[in-house]
C-alpha cells in the first residue's frame, strides 16, 4: 500500500491533553454545585461533548488519520443524533 508518513505524537502533547481533560472534569463537577436548574443537563452534556471531542482528536488520533475516518465519525454521530431527535418527536408531542 501507499507509504504512510508515521506521525509520532510527543509525550508532552498527551500530558497537556490529560491536564485539559482533568480541568474539564473539575469544571463539570463545580458547575453542579451552582444551581442552574434546567441548564444543568445541557451544561453537563456540553462539557462531556467537549471532552469526548478531545479524546477522539488526540487520544484516538483522528487528527492524524486520513479525513475518511473523520467523515465516518461525524456521519455516525450525526445519524445517532437524528435518531434521538426523531424518537423525541414522539415523546415530546404526546
Amino acid at each position: 500500500m501507499e507509504a504512510e508518513t508515521v506521525h509520532i505524537t510527543p509525550y508532552r502533547t498527551y500530558a497537556w491533553v490529560l491536564i485539559t481533560l482533568l480541568a474539564f472534569t473539575f469544571l463539570t463537577i463545580t458547575v453542579t454545585w451552582i444551581n442552574l436548574s434546567a441548564l444543568t443537563v445541557l451544561v453537563a452534556l456540553a462539557i462531556a461533548t467537549i471532552k469526548a471531542g478531545i479524546v477522539l482528536t488526540y487520544f484516538m488520533h483522528l487528527k492524524f488519520e486520513s479525513s475518511l475516518f473523520r467523515i465516518f465519525v461525524v456521519g455516525v454521530l450525526a445519524i445517532y443524533v437524528l435518531v434521538i431527535i426523531f424518537t423525541m418527536s414522539d415523546y415530546l408531542f404526546r
Binding site: I8, T25, T32, A52, V55, L56, M60, F72, Y80, I84
Partner: protein
Amino acid sequence: MEHRDDIGAKLGMWVFIFTEILLFGGLFLVYTVMRGRYAADFHSAAHHLNAFIGTINTLVLLISSATVAMSITAVQKGHNKFAVLLLFITLVCAAIFMVNKYFEWGHKFQIGLYPGSDLMLTMNHGQVMFFSLYFFMTGLHMFHLVVGGIILTIVMVKVNSGAINSTRYVLLENGGLYWHLVDLIWIFLFPLLYLIT
C-alpha cells in the same frame, strides 16, 4: 508473502467502535426518554449515587487513557520497556476502577438496592427507571472495561516479547482505540448518572 494492511485493520477497528457506540446508543436513548418523563425523580435518585467514587473513577480512566496513548509513542520510538510500564499503569488503573465499582455496587446491594429487589419495587416509577438504567449502563460499561483489560494484557505481553515493535504496532493502536472507547462512554455516563443532582 503475507498481506498486511494497517490502515485496513484500523478502519475495521473504527467500524467496530461505531457498532459499540450504537450499542450504548440504544441505552442512551432509553435514558433520554425516561429522563424526559421523570426529570424530578432522576434528580432525587441521583443523590443516592456516590459522586466521590464516580469522580475518582473518572480521573482514573482519564489517566489510563493517557498512558495507553503514550505507550504508542513509546513503541514508535522503540522504547518497548517504557511502553510496557505505561500499559501496566493502564491496567492498574483499570483494576482501581473495578475495585471502586465493587464497593459502590456492593454497598447498594447491601441496602437491598438492585434490579428486581423489594426495595426497588417500592420506589416510585422514575426512581426505578433511574436505578435500572444505572445498573444496566454501568454494568455493560464494566463488561467492556474487562474486555478492554484483557485485550491490553495480551498487547502488553506482545510488546514485552517484541512481537509488537516500532515497525508493526497496529494491534497496540487498535487495543488503544478500544480502551479510549471505554473512556469515551464513561465521559457521558459520569455526568448523566452522578452529577445531575
